[in-house]
């Protein structure tokens, strides 16, 4: 396949952006290399680990198996886009305080998956719903108990509001 370029326009963390990209490039490579947002990680490049998760129009997707061109006209939020005025969002704080991260390589993906799960739920989630909802994001360091704790705490607090 020969290189072809494409004028990509989309919303990235709330800002309209554009770039000339190789049509074969994945969204993950473009976010990381072209836009320098390296929070999303490449753990497998085959939609099997979740480290590359970003929000695409409000839902978590694996950016490693999505072509950048598919994001055209859409809205992408990465882990960098979750913080509020440079401070971690409450979900991120819950991860920090619960020690829901060890090496941290899966963490941005976990947080994006959790954000998607929580944003799209209309009630407090129970542990098994969280486990199911987060099952696409693996953590080799095995921080699962703590991740579950961080997500369920955040779910409970959001409900209480």
């Amino acid at each position: 396949m020969e290189a072809q370029t494409f004028e990509l326009k989309f919303k990235l963390n709330g800002k309209e952006v554009n770039a000339l990209v190789d049509t074969r490039e994945t969204l993950l490579d473009v976010i990381r290399d072209t836009f320098g947002l390296t929070g999303a990680k490449k753990g497998c490049d085959e939609a099997a680990c979740g480290a590359c998760s970003v929000l695409f129009n409000g839902h978590a997707v694996c950016s490693c198996t999505m072509l950048a061109a598919e994001a055209h006209g859409g809205s992408i939020v990465t882990v960098e886009g979750l913080s509020v005025n440079g401070e971690p969002a409450s979900l991120q704080k819950a991860f920090m305080e619960s020690d829901a991260l060890q090496c941290g390589f899966c963490t941005s993906g976990q947080i994006i998956a959790a954000a998607s799960l929580l944003d799209n739920a209309d009630r407090e989630l129970d542990d098994n719903e969280i486990r199911e909802g987060m099952s696409g994001n693996v953590c080799r360091c095995g921080a699962y108990n703590k991740i579950l704790h961080a997500v369920s705490e955040t779910s409970r607090k959001r409900k209480a509001k």
């Binding site: 990381r32 390296t38 020690d99 899966c106 963490t107 099952s135 360091c141 095995g142 699962y144």
Partner: protein, 738 residues
């Protein structure tokens, strides 16, 4: 977390979030792949398609036509030896004698990663093929085979004490069983990666290593450079669990490609490359015999094992492919004979407690079998036999008994354990509980640290740790903060760069806290002494009556605040006070230093489908004083999660026709996800070891598989002796039973 907090506390436990939690949670932590180096090129390896042979020719004409192609290097023009890659033999970075499908032959450098991948796929290699072996049996049975010229196996390694034949002949009960464990992979979530560039003959490497100093020394040795000419930087790592120890071949590849092209080069492995080209855990075939008397006293253990170590092995200690259980029990005799057998399959090496879980699986399953045979409660069986002191000498501290007794209490063992035939099966689901114990060494050794305080009262801890996820930076900061008396919030760390930080042993072998942490403690003590002397001068009160707490100088006894550390520093006229310390703690004659654990598992087995679900798990550990409960608990849970994978799902499938890995993908090699993990309760004993905190990183994975297997037996009456436990085997056994 709750579990820890509910405990009666004799003294306040420290439980702090990681010092770098913010960077990691906000996506700001820079891992190797996140570096953007100007003018950087991408290198991609190409590898052998045959299991065994000599490379006879390489055709790069098609590869060179790829737009963006810059350079190709191979075994034909570079013979650098990666000394750390194989302890017993010579392993070249680019193999001319290839020994497995996937052995690295060369690398292509290009301007983009897409071009590098494309060009690497177009390289043609001609081979002269050689006889190959993919199993232990065929290696040992094939006299034509020469994986290595001077022999196709290592060993036997013998470990022996007492007169085992005598014990076996006079004991009332003798069991004989076979156990096996599979080839596994570490699967750090961050695949192998390295970036290198040269400035004259000075080399800089941004490495994904578990030890910047070990990496530097290894690279320098292999490339014939003075260590001072090599700088290794490694701030954030996505795990390693033993397969990013010291210098890796991909670090050398990056350096070689960069020297040839004159540009910075990134070598990036795909997940598939990582599975094939970076070592995992060896498999084992173990024949065990155990002798006991009717009262349950274990008299002798015999282990005969053969391990498939692949074509290369990185394991540090010659032949120690089975090790550990001789430090779980006091028996009259122990007799082990171990072989490591080469095959034409990918390399093996360190993975979290390298021989630990394989060795624990067989012995801890067998002790359970013995308990069942004798009609003894499995916890009582362990209490009758656990080791109080090593055969010749004594432990520096030993909380084993407390782990077993209190663990059983917290778990509710007495109420939950019934003989297998009495466990009730509810609606096709059988539940059962299991126990297993384990121990692991806890070394001491050379440590270096620089601890200082500046005029603002900020404490700075500078060590060469890398923090692959263990929380080493946090631990070092907490040791210093606790020792000096300056709040953790006012403590910062410098780490992960050979240029700026003193030597550290590296995060492997559960050594960082014992080695480097000891130096941090000593430097902090000296720093505190200096601050107290400044206080003495300033306030005219003897330093023996002064303390530092929460960043303030206080008078002992009444606790009144005299001044802040910041005021002390200003009064002293020093911009900064620095203590640079090297420590070399050694054990006294006859002493051995170990950590201990008892694990308890509950499983629910679906009798129709054979599905095993973990429903509860509890771990009780003696790792001495715990520097930080929060991260220590995470480390224990993490080891258990990895052990659950080893028990239930993980297995590298090795092809019978060419020895290649058939499942080099996270879709096919299944590591646990959140749905498979129960609540894991973690407890620590309050053991105090005279040499300070003991090790923790490796022991949590050790007892897991046996605890689960024993629980499956308790639930179903079926004893599974091969890892990972297979549903088919379980269902087959259940059917035969009916």
């Amino acid at each position: 977390m709750e579990a820890v907090m509910e405990r009666q506390r004799e003294k306040p436990h420290v439980s702090e979030p990681r010092i770098d939690a913010r960077e990691r949670a906000m996506g700001l932590a820079k891992y190797t792949a996140d570096w953007q180096v100007k003018d950087m090129l991408y290198a991609r390896i190409f590898t052998s398609t045959v299991p065994h042979g000599f490379v006879k020719g390489i055709d790069s004409s098609e590869a060179a036509k790829t737009p963006g192609f810059v350079d190709i290097v191979s075994c034909l023009d570079d013979s650098t030896v990666w000394q750390a890659g194989e302890r017993e033999h010579e392993r070249r970075v680019f193999a001319d004698h290839v020994r497995f499908v996937g052995d690295c032959i060369g690398a292509v450098t290009a301007t983009t990663r897409i071009a590098a991948r494309k060009a690497a796929s177009l390289v043609g290699v001609q081979y002269e093929e050689l006889p190959a072996s993919f199993t232990i049996e065929s290696t040992l049975g094939n006299s034509q085979l020469k994986i290595w010229d001077n022999g196709n196996f290592l060993g036997p390694l013998k470990f022996e004490y007492g007169d085992s034949e005598e014990e076996f002949s006079k004991s009332q009960v003798v069991l004989e069983r076979h156990y096996s464990t599979s080839r596994l992979h570490n699967v750090p979530l961050e695949p192998a990666i390295s970036i290198a560039w040269w400035d004259g003959d000075n080399l800089t490497v941004v490495a994904a290593t578990q030890s910047v100093h070990g990496c530097r020394n290894g690279i320098a040795k292999d490339l014939g450079l003075e260590p001072e000419k090599v700088r290794v930087i490694g701030y954030y790592k996505g795990g390693g669990f033993g397969n990013k120890i010291n210098s890796m071949n991909y670090d050398l590849i990056a350096a070689i490609c960069s020297r040839r092209t004159g540009k910075p080069v990134m070598v990036e492995y795909s997940r598939e490359d990582e599975f094939i080209n970076v070592h995992g855990r060896w498999s084992t075939d173990q024949d065990l015999r155990m002798a006991a008397d009717r009262a349950g006293k274990i008299n002798a253990v015999e282990v005969k094992a053969k391990c498939d170590i692949g074509a290369y092995t990185r394991h540090i200690k010659r032949g120690h492919f089975i090790e550990g259980p001789e430090h779980y029990y006091s028996t009259e005799a122990w007799n082990a004979e171990i072989y490591g057998v080469y095959t034409n399959t990918p390399a093996t090496g360190h993975m979290r407690a390298p021989p630990g879980p394989q060795s624990a699986f067989s012995v801890e399953s067998m002790v359970d079998e013995l308990a069942h045979e004798l009609g003894i409660d499995p916890v009582d069986m362990r209490l009758k036999n656990f080791i109080r002191n090593p055969p010749s000498g004594r432990f520096t501290s030993n909380g084993f008994e407390e782990c077993i007794i209190k663990g059983a209490e917290e778990f509710g063992w007495k109420q939950r354990w019934k003989r297998p035939e009495k466990q009730r099966n509810k609606s096709g689901i059988a539940t059962g509980v299991g126990v297993a114990i384990g121990s692991w060494h806890s070394g001491l050794g050379h440590g270096e640290a620089i601890v200082s305080v500046d005029s603002s009262g900020t404490l700075e801890v500078n060590t060469g740790v890398v923090d692959i996820g263990t929380g080493a930076k946090t631990t070092m900061a907490l040791i210093a903060s606790g020792e000096v008396g300056i709040p953790y919030a006012d403590t910062r760390v410098i780490w992960g760069d050979t240029e700026t930080s003193p030597y550290s042993v590296g995060e492997s072998g559960s050594r960082t806290t014992g080695f480097t942490g000891t130096a941090v403690r000593e430097a902090s003590r000296q720093l505190k002494a200096d601050l107290l002397l400044i206080g003495e001068k300033l306030h005219g009160i003897s330093s023996s009556k002064l303390e530092i707490k929460e960043g303030n100088l206080i008078r002992s006894g009444n606790g009144s605040v005299l001044s802040s550390v910041r005021e002390l520093m200003q009064a002293s006229g020093n911009g900064r006070i620095t203590k640079s310390v090297t420590t070399e703690p050694t054990l006294k004659e006859g002493e051995e230093r170990f950590v201990f654990a008892a694990h308890f598992a509950e499983v629910a087995v679906d009798l129709e489908t054979g599905e095993v679900k973990l429903t509860d798990y509890l771990a009780y550990h003696d790792s001495g004083e715990i520097v930080n409960r929060l991260t220590a608990e995470s480390q224990v849970q993490g080891g258990i999660v990895m052990g659950i994978g080893m028990a239930l799902t993980e297995k590298l499938l090795i092809s019978k026709t060419d020895g290649s890995i058939e499942n080099p993908s996270l879709l096919l090699y299944r590591i646990p996800n959140m749905t498979q993990i129960p609540k894991i309760k973690v407890f620590f004993t309050d053991t105090v070891d005279p040499y300070g905190p003991k090790s923790l990183g490796e022991i949590p994975i050790i007892p897991v598989t046996a605890a689960i297997g024993n629980a499956i037996f308790n639930a179903t009456g079926v004893r599974l002796r091969n890892l990972p436990f297979s549903r088919e085997e379980l269902l087959g056994e259940l059917k035969d039973r009916k």
